[in-house]
């Protein structure tokens, strides 16, 4: 065809692709669908979530059963090598490594998701209070948040973790979650403050909409974008920090239901002779954290109005 019709076709196609009249979420989704970074990240996340959900079916052996224990000779520093039925071999007490990794996926994601949800819930309450009420509530909440933010994250998590007499799964989750509360609170307050004088809030106020409705129907939904992005990134941070707690001896000592950070922490004593015991859980942590980070970063890009082209 002629160059002219080509150009018209191209224009028509561009018009069809443009974001005019499309909501932010729909436009973001359209950009995401074509973003390879998002696709890779989402692929990783979906794969591990499926593995985690199906792990009771996929794990061939009981993760707590030292079935290969007779092959462990501590004096000669021997652990069971890969063998039929146990493709990755056993761990330092003879439990099937692959089954532990699979069950570990479930436990690790559970820690990440619960910690993020608790942090998010706490941050939503504090941030909404501060952003909606302002005045002395705002001052008190934000001062408290500033004090918490003045300790580096992991250090705060470790301090909280050390509070509990017997560390267990839930103290780890709590320690990691509390650290995230001020981050979410700050984020939410900032984005609600920015809206307080925006046109849609003024319009709602002029129409006589009650304060509570303005906060929950107008300001809060419009502030959620950055919060969702942050939550995705926190999922990665939570998993890594839980591993850090385990490494410092503040993790869950009950290893019948393994978690990757805990496996990595326990492997540190034998890492010189058997690095594979550390490499497998560490590799899983890195890949899953990378997956969540990729999703978070591409979400951030997609939701940012500046990056619309």
């Amino acid at each position: 065809m002629t160059a002219r019709t080509d150009k018209i076709d191209e224009l028509a196609q561009r018009a069809a692709e443009s974001d005019a009249g499309v909501s932010l979420a729909a436009a973001a989704w359209r950009r995401l669908r074509r973003n390879p970074v998002f696709l890779v990240g989402a692929g990783i996340v979906v794969l591990f979530v499926v593995l985690a959900i199906l792990s009771p079916l996929l794990a061939a052996h009981d993760p707590a059963d030292p079935m290969l224990g007779d092959q462990v000779v501590r004096a000669r520093n021997e652990i069971p090598p890969p063998q039929p039925g146990h493709p990755l071999g056993g761990d330092q007490v003879g439990r099937d490594l692959l089954s532990r990794l699979l069950v570990g996926a479930q436990q690790t994601l559970l820690v990440g998701v619960l910690a993020t949800l608790i942090g998010l819930a706490g941050g939503l309450v504090l941030g909404t209070l501060a952003g909606a009420l302002s005045g002395w509530v705002d001052t008190v909440v934000m001062r408290a948040v500033d004090v918490m933010l003045s300790i580096p994250g992991l250090l705060l998590a470790v301090s909280i973790g050390a509070l509990f007499a017997q560390p267990n799964q839930y103290t780890v989750i709590l320690a990691v979650a509390i650290v995230q509360i001020p981050v979410f609170a700050r984020l939410l307050r900032g984005s609600m403050l920015a809206q307080r004088h925006s046109d849609h809030v003024l319009a709602a106020r002029a129409l006589g909409v009650r304060q509570r409705a303005i906060v929950f129907r107008h300001m809060l939904p419009n502030s959620l974008g950055p919060v969702i992005v942050q939550a995705t990134l926190v999922l990665a941070i939570a998993i890594i920090e839980a591993a850090g707690l385990s490494f410092l001896g503040l993790g869950n000592p009950d290893d019948r239901l393994p978690e990757w950070g805990q496996m990595l922490g326990q492997a540190q004593n034998v890492i010189d002779s058997h690095p594979q015991l550390a490499f497998w859980p560490a590799g899983c942590i890195i890949v899953v954290a990378l997956g969540f980070t990729l999703v978070g970063e591409s979400l951030r890009e997609a939701l940012d109005p500046k990056s619309r082209r």
Binding site: R143, D146, V147, S150, I151, P152, G153, L154, L155, V158, S159, A162, L163, F164, A165, Q166, A236, I240, A243, G244, F247, L248, G249, L250, G261, L264, Q268, I271, D272, P275, A278, A282, I285, I286, V287, A289, L290, T293, L294, E297
Partner: protein, 341 residues
Amino acid sequence: MLRYTVRRLLQLVFVVLALSLLLFAWLRSLPGGPVSALLGERITPESRARLTAELGLDQPIFVQYFKFLGRAASGDFGVSTGVQPGDSAAAIFVQRFPATLELSVLAIVIAIAVGIPLGYLAARRRGGLLDNLSVVGSLIGVAVPVFFLAFVLKQVFAVELGWFPTTGRQEGGLDATRVTGFFVLDGLITREFDAAWDAVKHLILPAIALSSIPFSVIVRITRASVLDVLDEDFVRTAESKGLTTQVITRRHVLRNSMLPVVTTIGLQTGALLAGAVLTEKVFAFPGIGQALAIGFERRDYPVLLLLILSAAGVFVLVNLAVDLSYAVIDPRIRTGSGGGR
């Protein structure tokens, strides 16, 4: 500017005081406690009661707190019960702080010296191989647990290849002269260059491990910020005026894109101590981080309290320095009162 600085410093005092109260209450409620940690297996009810009274732990908590504040004002933060039993917490801080400072400075220097040029080049050649590599690398960099990276570095470069020492700050046999407590600096001052070089070799691997997160973040922020600035009209104007790339880079692009980068460097520097807890433990590096790790294990309240407080103090001070540096980098920003508003 002065008024703003003073106000921020007053806020710092408030933060540290509030934190000291919180930490004090917290650490006192830790289970186990220093008494069990000190006495260990040989504990009897009588010895427990005697030591509790000796340490003043039998008094009401607010009495303990005000006594602590009074002593702290004169620099007495109590005696270590676990990290280096018998030494004063303040002495432990003074002795270990230079080690962590050396480590942190080297880590942040590595992160800046490699991160900013890499982020800049990546932005300049957007979509190229270097760009993609640096983006992927910076994403992986934050996903790797710091202590695992430290393990791998130690295993490969210290144990297998033997290029670097595995643990510590300096070989004991060197018998280096101590002047400032900064081992590298000491070696240079006293012209014991082998001692200085040995101290540097002990620093390299932990510093690389520690720099992984700030490095990744700096690369990413530099790249994003340079991309933003390259899009600006004034860069196009400068190009159309026929200025050389070098001048445009230095005067227009870099200067304008450094504001978010400086913020990031500040935040990351303040947060280094958290990574140092993990890194120093792996390399048995006798700094603040290792003391914190041991302190948590052995419930050493006086040491923990002083170290966490000083970590928070440093964090807040670094952030203040960052805020003040904005005015230098970007003259449009007026700090605090005054100005045209």
